[in-house]
């Protein structure tokens, strides 16, 4: 996603230089919320201030909004049909497989020591067994990150 945004903003439209684009971006992207939306807010702000933020958020969210609105308006009427249900019964294992694939991929690139891997496992199990709210996991993980590296 990011290379695409960068290509439009930096190379084609030339509204920001390479450095301007990168500066602060990692922080903006690690704020809560969708990465695409946060990036849009950030780039919009840099180019045109608050108005830029609002316009770019609108631009970034409108396509998904319209697509899902369109799909939902049909889907919710027909979802109970057996054909539709059978399709989704078949698609669900594929979704699970794709998500497990993502876990493996991201795990390989993002975890660089055994400590991280062990923490990931522990967080996984305590979320499941204690039915913890995911926000707690974010806090615990972040605090562990600080404690391990201070």
């Amino acid at each position: 996603m990011l290379p695409l945004i960068k290509q439009e903003i930096v190379e084609k439209k030339k509204v920001l230089t390479d450095e301007e684009f990168i500066e602060g971006l990692s922080v903006a992207q690690s704020l809560p919320g969708a990465i695409a939306i946060n990036t849009a807010c950030f780039v919009g702000r840099k180019v045109r201030g608050i108005a830029g933020t609002l316009v770019s958020v609108l631009g970034a969210s409108l396509p998904s909004f319209l697509i899902i609105l369109f799909i939902a308006s049909f889907f919710l009427q027909y979802r109970h049909l057996e054909v539709v249900q059978n399709f989704f019964r078949g698609a669900t294992p594929a979704i699970v497989a794709l998500i497990i694939g993502a876990v493996v991929d991201i795990g390989k690139s993002a975890l660089d020591d055994w400590g991280d891997l062990i923490i990931a496992f522990i967080l996984f199990f305590i979320t499941l067994f204690f039915n913890l709210h995911p926000l707690w996991i974010v806090l615990i993980g972040g605090m562990l990150g600080v404690l391990r590296r201070k």
Binding site: V27, I50, T53, E82, G90, G101, D116, L128, H133
Partner: protein, 153 residues
Amino acid sequence: MAALPLIEKEVVDTYHWLSNGEFLELVTLSELTPGPIGINSATFTGFKVVGIWGSLVATLAFCLPSIFLVSLIFRSLSYFEENVWVQHFLRGLRPVVIALIGVAAYSLAQKGIKDWFAIMLGIIVFTLVYRKKTNPILLLLLSGVAGLIWYGS
């Protein structure tokens, strides 16, 4: 994708806006369409519960924190970028992302994989996407068609 457990918890468990089945379908539809899963979930859930206005309000509400937070810290971004505490905290989120995506996979598997045919489909898709780098969207559609044929007959 790391947001899935959070979305599931609030939308399905806390507020009962979507059933388990509808949540599974939402994740599948999100995977099939471009766009962030947060926007997709907000639009879908808002539409299901209230209609067009619901989807509009939910999607707007999803974007507000981003607008607010980016605007709030915009002037001090370089401070955050160089602050070691912030850096360590953010670095600590890497295992969190893995754990939460793992939880999402587990939860979806528990809800949606109920027989050996489904297990087999899952293994085949995993192998193809991981070893052969087959297009995930194509596999998703083929897997759905396989379900259509198998469960329909």
